[in-house]
């Protein structure tokens, strides 16, 4: 576990990590809201051009950390620099480098999509023409909705509009707070496509999420955050590899405590849990464990239902470090 926590294995496709300058530096950040310490001494560096994911459950401190980087919330302690500019003392210069999508969409309800984009751009002293603004919306498949108000857009369209507005100033750095929260799978994939495009354009992307799949698919590096602290940091694969060859074998069957204790002794089994009639066993020898479970089921006269062998993912990393699931 200590090794996992100390893990930091930056990987950029085809590049040496040491060549990548840190564009955002977070040093000993502490954020407090009255009596609550939401962020408790976080230090991070985010490299130019990388997509960095901040993964953790609700209330972990993701949005609070991002809010400080965005310049919305002042830190109680610590220092954050963006592109070399201190976010507190040189906030205007720092903010010019960033485009932001907040967790909750904040729009003027009576303005159309194109008017919103022109308005947001004006905050950065950029004044696109109507034609240019519509072209920007077109990149997010919203060109036909240029004259629609936000209330007339679907959930997925609203999120894509949020992304379009975050790019109104053509920023080097894009900060996305839970960009796919509440979306159906199709809309989510559409947003992922847009985020991949941002990466391909060479922008630095920081996204917060509590979706494991999203963090694994989009992020080059992931910071796992819980109770205001970074508990793991590295590439998704490197973090998962630290778990060893461990897979999770799950199956539905009715078991007594004594039978569970016997399963704990099966080949390769390192950890088991049993909830609502479903067994989950972490194992380093998935085939041998499955064979042993089948033989066991025959012996006790029970069928095994709904067998699944899953490769480890970041949620397993989180469970290993904290003892609970991200969605608990």
């Amino acid at each position: 576990m200590a090794e996992l926590q100390a893990m930091s294995s930056p990987t950029m496709t085809g590049t040496d990590a040491s060549e990548q300058e840190a564009i955002i530096k977070i040093e000993h950040l502490v954020v407090r809201y009255k009596q609550l310490t939401a962020v408790n001494d976080i230090s991070l560096e985010i490299r130019e051009g990388e997509c960095f994911g901040l993964l953790g459950p609700n209330g972990a401190g993701k949005t609070s950390t991002l809010s400080v980087v965005e310049g919305i919330v002042k830190p109680a302690e610590g220092c954050v620099t963006v592109g070399g500019y201190d976010i507190v003392h040189q906030s205007a210069a720092a903010k010019r480098l960033m485009g932001v999508q907040l967790q909750t969409s904040a729009y003027f309800p009576d303005l159309t999509a194109v008017e919103l984009l022109q308005l947001i751009a004006s905050f950065y002293e950029i004044f696109p023409s109507r034609k240019q603004a519509i072209a920007q919306l077109d990149r997010f498949e919203l060109g036909e909705k240029a004259n629609a108000k936000v209330s007339q857009l679907s959930g997925g369209q609203q999120q894509r509009l949020s992304l379009a507005l975050a790019l109104a100033n053509d920023p080097k750095i894009v900060l996305l707070d839970e960009p796919t929260a509440g979306l159906d799978p199709q809309a989510r994939r559409s947003v992922w496509q847009s985020i991949r495009r941002l990466k391909a354009e060479g922008r630095t992307v920081i996204l917060t999420t509590h979706y494991i799949e999203e963090a694994e698919l989009l992020s080059q590096r992931v910071g796992v955050i819980d109770h205001g602290q970074i508990i793991a940091l590295g590439t998704p694969q490197a973090l998962i590899d630290q778990l060893g060859e461990s897979s999770t074998l799950s199956a539905a069957l009715d078991l007594s405590p004594e039978q569970l204790a016997e399963i704990q002794t099966f080949p390769g089994v390192t950890k088991i849990s049993y909830e609502d009639g479903r067994l989950s066993a972490q194992t380093t020898q998935s085939i041998e464990t499955l064979i042993a479970l089948q033989q066991f089921a025959i012996r006790i006269g029970q069928p095994i239902r709904d067998v699944n062998i899953r490769q480890p993912n970041l949620e397993d990393v989180f469970i290993t470090l904290t003892g609970r699931a991200i969605r608990d």
Binding site: K95, F108, F123, E125
Partner: protein, 250 residues
């Protein structure tokens, strides 16, 4: 130049937001006109009165009532809505000051006030043959401008700490209704008890309507015009300073 261009875009956005909001258009423009027409006919047909005389008395009151409504409902409620929706938070993530956007909104509302006043005068002239005193147009503009600014800042002060629109609407109504009926806008203050008259005469809507009524009906400034303008100036400065000191963006 960039700052001017920036302000222009934001003014346009606020203007569009204002005129597209049908509820705001009704309460800020149509509702006061309804009062105007209704009261003019009802009280104008009383013994010793005519619709024209009553309309002449009411016209400045309707203009000030529209401004007051615009400042409180159009100002306070809208700012709280912006806060509730996270619009201020969104702007805080940009290099621009939130106050600049609020200023753009105030300017848009001031323009709306002038439009409201013009419509009210046209209705008064066309339907009730109201004859306004000539020679006071510049004073009319000045007092409409002052009144609009004071009421916008009043709305800003109300909105400074309120988090929810429902709460804002309650607070605005509690403040708006007494100011509407006890400051000589629609009902002559002289029919009120003395203690209420003394209070009413100190309040911003009375100060504005007294200045405006005197110029519109008599063509001259009231004898205490300077004191009333200074009073409005003090209200403006104190409310602006207070709202700037306590205003929360989240």
């Amino acid at each position: 130049m960039l700052a001017l261009q920036q302000f222009g875009v934001q003014f346009q956005a606020n203007w569009l937001s204002t005129i597209r909001n049908r509820t705001a258009v009704f309460f800020n423009l149509i509702s006061p006109l309804l009062f105007f027409v209704l009261f003019s006919f009802i009280f104008g047909n009383q013994k010793g009165a005519t619709p024209e005389l009553v309309a002449l008395y009411l016209l400045p009151g309707v203009i000030v009532a529209s401004q007051l409504s615009s400042g409180l409902f159009g100002g306070a409620s809208v700012l709280v809505t912006w806060r509730e929706r996270g619009i201020f938070r969104r702007i805080q993530a940009t290099p621009m000051s939130v106050w600049q956007l609020i200023l753009a909104r105030v300017l848009a509302q001031v323009i709306v006030s002038f439009a409201q006043a013009l419509v009210t005068v046209i209705v008064g002239v066309l339907f009730f043959k109201v004859q306004l005193a000539s020679g006071g147009v510049l004073w009319d503009f000045l007092f409409i401008l002052i009144g609009s600014l004071v009421f916008q800042v009043m709305g800003q002060l109300i909105a400074a700490r309120i988090k929810r629109v429902e709460t804002a609407n309650i607070v605005v109504n509690v403040i708006f209704l007494p100011l509407l009926f006890f400051t000589d806008l629609y009902i002559p203050l002289s029919v009120m008890p003395t203690w209420l008259q003394n209070i009413g005469k100190l309040l911003p809507p009375y100060l504005v309507v007294d200045l405006l009524r005197s110029v519109m009906t008599d063509g001259k400034l009231p004898s205490n015009a300077l004191a009333e303008v200074i009073g409005l100036g003090i209200y403006f400065i104190v409310m602006l300073a207070a709202s700037a000191a306590i205003f929360r963006f989240d």
